[in-house]
Symmetry: C2
DNA sequence: CCATTATATAAGTGATTGCTTATTTAATCA
DNA sequence: TGATTAAATAAGCAATCACTTATATAATGG
């Protein structure tokens, strides 16, 4: 791994919202429409974050009909380190469960 | 460690030149004047990088007369992870030894 | 004291970042 | 087929970034 690769990997993680996205993905695979609710962000904003994470090979996507299911790339060399980093961060207050309890539509349908 | 702290820590590492600086510091403590030669950068540029690293508590400084000796902050929670990250990066071609062999003034005097 | 040396700070600049709104692409379903 | 829905892309914008040059601060040594 050279300096440029490491730099783009770390730059991809070095963002508050992307760290949150990765934290959520460390629990379960999710689609963009779920992140817009979880992070209270617009759809294009989430989409652009996912593209950055994908370019840095931190996540993988699986098209399923209209939806795109995103997962952590468990094959990445730095995946174990990423999991360790994420374990140091607190659990987000907003969860899929808490949103469903509020009656918000979180699950794709 | 919260998201903001993690973000500023990772942002501080996520730069080609600062990763090089940290790689050098993982071998030995150095002063700014040595980095200007090692990285072929201007003195203010190096100084500004060191300030960023210090703000993120990645390094410590020790004033010694005119010089400031910089070291890795071995007390940081993420120090072991940093060392692991740096171990994945190749050794820089330019070293204090190679510069001295060229007859360049690298050591403070 | 004054010149030199090491470092810090300030101000300016072009490139990049993370968002926004608007639009496009593509898949589903009535 | 046409309306709806999920996601991507484009263009624009304010904030931040990594540098630059110029200047200031501070310690050393003649």
């Amino acid at each position: 791994m050279n300096y440029t690769e490491m730099e783009s990997y770390l730059k991809a993680i070095s963002d508050h919202n992307r760290m949150l996205i990765l934290k959520y993905l460390s629990k379960e695979s999710l689609c963009i429409c779920e992140f817009t609710e979880l992070l209270d962000m617009t759809q294009p904003a989430v989409s652009q974050h996912m593209r950055k994470l994908k370019t840095a090979e931190l996540v993988t996507e699986e098209k399923r009909g209209r939806w795109t299911i995103w997962s952590l790339n468990v094959r990445h060399v730095l995946y174990p380190m990423l999991i360790h980093l994420l374990s140091l961060l607190p659990e987000p207050e907003v969860t899929v469960e808490s949103l469903m309890a509020e009656g918000k539509k979180v699950v794709c349908e």
